[in-house]
């Protein structure tokens, strides 16, 4: 199966070409980008990232843990302090608030690792050093007979180079 690697200088061009490729039914695409770019973010997948589910679960777990831990511990061995109730919500809100942020933040990091498939031992064979410089890569896996069409499309979309790698 041949693999085409198109090199671009502008995020808009990569996003544009990948959209055109997808509209023609080429779905085995990968983009390598040196910078975050919202054009590229929506080029391959319009749905919002799944990281948000992780943050939500983390935050909810944090607030629940915060109140449950404080209330349970205060009632497990009761010590009267200043005549305040054992299950005293206002002071425990501080703990619940901090744990919401702690668990939410840690789960967000976990979300990045799960969704972004990190950490990984080996880099993709198509990955090049210049993708961490200022160039963008668009990698397409396709059938032999589609190579010329995709190459023409990439060149038309201002690719500075198109490499064909046989795999």
């Amino acid at each position: 199966m041949p693999t085409l690697v198109g090199i671009f200088e502008q995020p808009l061009c990569v996003a544009d070409v990948s959209r055109r490729l997808r509209s023609r039914g080429y779905n085995d695409l990968q983009i390598y980008s040196p910078v975050p770019s919202h054009e590229i973010d929506s080029a391959l997948d319009e749905k919002p990232s799944r990281v948000r589910i992780f943050t939500l679960i983390g935050g909810l777990a944090g607030v629940t843990t915060g109140y449950a831990m404080t209330i349970w511990m205060a009632n497990n061995w009761q010590i009267m302090l200043g005549g305040k109730p054992f299950s005293s919500i206002p002071p425990y809100t501080v703990i619940a608030f901090e744990l919401t942020i702690l668990f939410g933040g840690l789960m967000t990091a976990l979300g990045l690792f799960v969704v972004g498939k990190l950490p990984r031992k080996k880099l993709d064979p198509e990955y090049q050093r210049r993708f961490s410089s200022e160039e963008f890569g668009l990698v397409v896996r396709c059938r032999d007979r589609d190579v010329s069409e995709i190459e023409a499309l990439m060149r038309d979309g201002h690719a500075t180079e198109v490499e064909v790698v046989e795999a």
Binding site: E9, Q10, P11, L12, Q30, I31, Y32, S33, P34, V35, P36, S37, H38, I40, D41, S42, A43, L44, P48, S49, V51, R52, T55, M73, A74, N76, W77, I79, L81, S88, P91, V94, I95, F97, E98, L99, I101, G104, G105, T108, A109, G111, L112, F113, V115, G116, K117, L118, P119, R120, K121, L123, D124, Y127, R130, F131, S132, S133, E134, E135
Partner: protein, 467 residues
Amino acid sequence: MTPPPPAESVAAMIRPTPRPRDSVVNRDILNVMRGAGPGYWLLLLLCIVVVHVAGSIWVLQVYKGLGIAGYAHPIFWGAYIVTFVFWVGIAHAGTLISAILYLFRAKWRNAINRSAEAMTIFAVLTAAQFLGIHVGRIWKSYFILPYPNQRGLWVNFKSPLLWDTFAISTYATISAVFLFIGLIPDLAIARDRARGVRKVLYTALALGWQGTATQWKAHNRSVLHLSGLATPLVLSVHSVVSWDFAMSIVPGWHATIFGPYFVAGAIFSGFAMVLTMMIPVRRIFGLEEYITDYHFENMSRFILLTSLIVGYAYGAEYFVSWYSGVEAEQTSFWSRAFGPYWLSTWIMISCNVIFPQLLWFKKVRTHIPTLFVLSVLVNVGMWFERYVIIITGLSREYDPAVWGIYTPSWAEMGIVAGSFAFFCMFFLIFLKLFPVVAIAEVKEIVIHEKEHPEGDWEHAHTYGEIH
């Protein structure tokens, strides 16, 4: 008959295609990490020596007891707690710049967010040590954590000191996560260009980052969510620290204004510390192209704004103590300005309220040496602010029979000096190990400007955020 082409033109034809050039941003910023002159090593050595001297003083304190600190009845919160609050305050600029300015789409933060985040971590680490130093019996300091124990007792969740434990440890953890997640793409840049031991280090730390569309999308999302979580966190941490004081009934401490007053002071001192550290760093490593006078000017505007808030809070405290009609409050505040600690109070007022007013002038905001001096003065002023609040509060409580005087001992001052060396030591190591400016974020603007050469500045600086 045409003559054959000259030999050199054939040689030119078979010349290999030139290797693609590396990004200028990569080169400039990675250069900061390369090699270190004797000046750097001397400074690092000095820091390490001072840290060890301070460490030895602490060991002596553990051996002899807290008696070698200057605590004197009724003042049992001294220089250690002052310095703890000071460093927690310093820690506030980093996350403010990374999180709050991120949510406000203030693109100028790109040049300074990395160094400020690193300072946050080091400042929190420095601050956290002072809790251990202050409790004296360090081997019992884990009693503050709610862990199952044979006595069946739990911690007191109604105590502000416990809230503080949760706030500070959450802040340290989330700031570290924030710094690391921001570093991953830059570590991949370093990995692709490093050799030897550094290659191994950056390969491990970059976690196999390749900058694929999925990775960036998840990365953008995580940064957005972490900013959303860290924004209330920044505001809560110093509020919680202020409640350590405000929840008690000591005159001069028991005030509802303490939360916003401390948060504004923290941002004030944090920005000053970023200026104090970054002005020499920019000069030494020639980063003028990335960290411009525009960035310093913006930070000085923040300093001016927070200086006004802090100045207002000083005034409000005096007004409330007079208006309350409570004699203990009035006495406490009178002795703050004219009592035994008058010098500290006036240092605090001049450094935090009077001198920063110079920043109204653009000439001052753009004159880097003056800015540096002002930032150092603000740091001094903010240390004295905490000194004044804590010491004058405790020295003049309700009953004149138990009034007292506290002077920091040599041991305390040694450990306080050690904390500055500790902070600088970590920052110096950071400079040589990690990119001091967020490369990918700066490059985002560079690439965007290539795309829109007509130079729509406003657009360029608000471009490229999360969707």
